[in-house]
Assembly symmetry: C2
Homo-oligomer: 202 residues x 2
DNA sequence: AGAATGAGCGAACAGTTGTAAGCTAAAGTG
DNA sequence: CACTTTAGCTTACAACTGTTCGCTCATTCT
């Protein structure tokens, strides 16, 4: 096996070890370098061959989580073309992601208000991707100033994220309630915004 | 000084020490018993005379934070009577609290999605007080099913909380923008909800 | 007065942590 | 082939952590 190949392999082992140790009871901040190294199957000091410190690993995790989120968006758009209902499909796709990759979502959720400014910034950037795409969509579908489209998109993303957070602590039989509640909230937003100076296009 | 009096005094010293160590870079989880004891001016072992462990202290902090929040609500209501504008006054009062007691707000913000289920539950309960009061208000002012009033109140509280979180990382000159953005979002919600089967009362 | 209580202390323990230094051995290079 | 590079290892250290134990001594109770 080539050297670079092997290096990449243990780098992934470290990343996977970190992800797998995240849980409802364990945040990234409470991971230790040694524990991660142990699970990755390397000596503690070998960790430094791949990351300068735990922060660098953390930022990598946030990046990867953001990537997954964006792939999710693409998947949602495909579903929308077949399905029709934009809001419902988007939320359902998102809820599936949250419940299926809860550790990944938890990372974003926690580091959004965590103790590292760098982490908070990284998460905020990932979320802004969401907001920007949604705002773009709103601008296409309606006639309204950029500023308002953005404020609307932000509100929507916040509400959806929060529904995801609720789902983490809720029993599965409540998922459909959380979904429909969020749909209602988002419809209120769109209707309210449409009534305040915005017009449906065409 | 009486015994009970003195005990209460050092108990407060511990609580205050814990609050004062919370900051943008230090979450409750990263506080150590020894550090807190040091700042409170007692030996590490004396801590146990007042709390069984750090978790018990943490729950106390959350309780106190919730108390401050409810006092804030009362203060807001007084202002509303003089001022008139419900939404604007509420949000402005809240933003003042957030910027003036940022460590307290940060505690709630972080433990809401933290690693301890007990903490998450405690914070959720405090926030539900907010939601319940607001939902009650909405029911009085409008005719709508309890269920919808609650969903609307929840959405509003989420958006206001999020604005507070944004303020923590924003320079002060952006506070007024954050406030007005949130006002817009809340007005959309009320208008949208009013349009969907709800009617203004009287 | 005398006994009981209990807040606070110092010393000590076992466990963990991050990280530095220096070695080995395999892969890459000329 | 000899030479360099480097991922990974072992050992080691100093700094912390939470917690147990047994003591003191001022307050409180009888």
């Amino acid at each position: 096996m080539s050297r670079a190949e092997q290096k990449e392999r243990t780098r992934r082992a470290i990343i996977n070890a970190a992800f797998s140790q995240l849980s409802a009871d364990k945040s990234f901040a409470s991971l230790s370098l040694r524990e991660v190294a142990r699970e990755a199957g390397i000596a503690p000091t070998s960790f430094y061959r791949h990351f300068a410190d735990m922060d660098e690993l953390g930022l990598t995790l946030v990046d990867e989580a953001g990537l997954m989120l964006r792939q999710l968006m693409r998947q949602a758009r495909q579903r929308i073309e077949k399905n029709g209902s934009v809001i419902r499909t988007s939320i359902e796709t998102f809820m599936e992601f949250v419940t299926g990759n809860s550790n990944v979502f938890r990372l974003l959720l926690r580091e959004r208000s965590g103790t590292s400014a760098a982490f908070r910034g990284a998460v905020a950037r990932e979320i802004q991707h969401f907001v920007a795409e949604l705002a773009e969509y709103l601008r296409k579908e309606t006639i309204c100033p950029d500023e308002l489209a953005r404020a609307q998109a932000e509100a929507m993303v916040i509400l959806v994220f929060h529904a995801g957070a609720d789902a983490l602590d809720a029993p599965p039989e409540q998922y459909s309630y959380l979904t429909s509640r969020t749909i209602t909230q988002l419809r209120w937003l769109t209707h309210g915004a449409a009534g305040s100076g915005r017009k449906p296009k065409g």
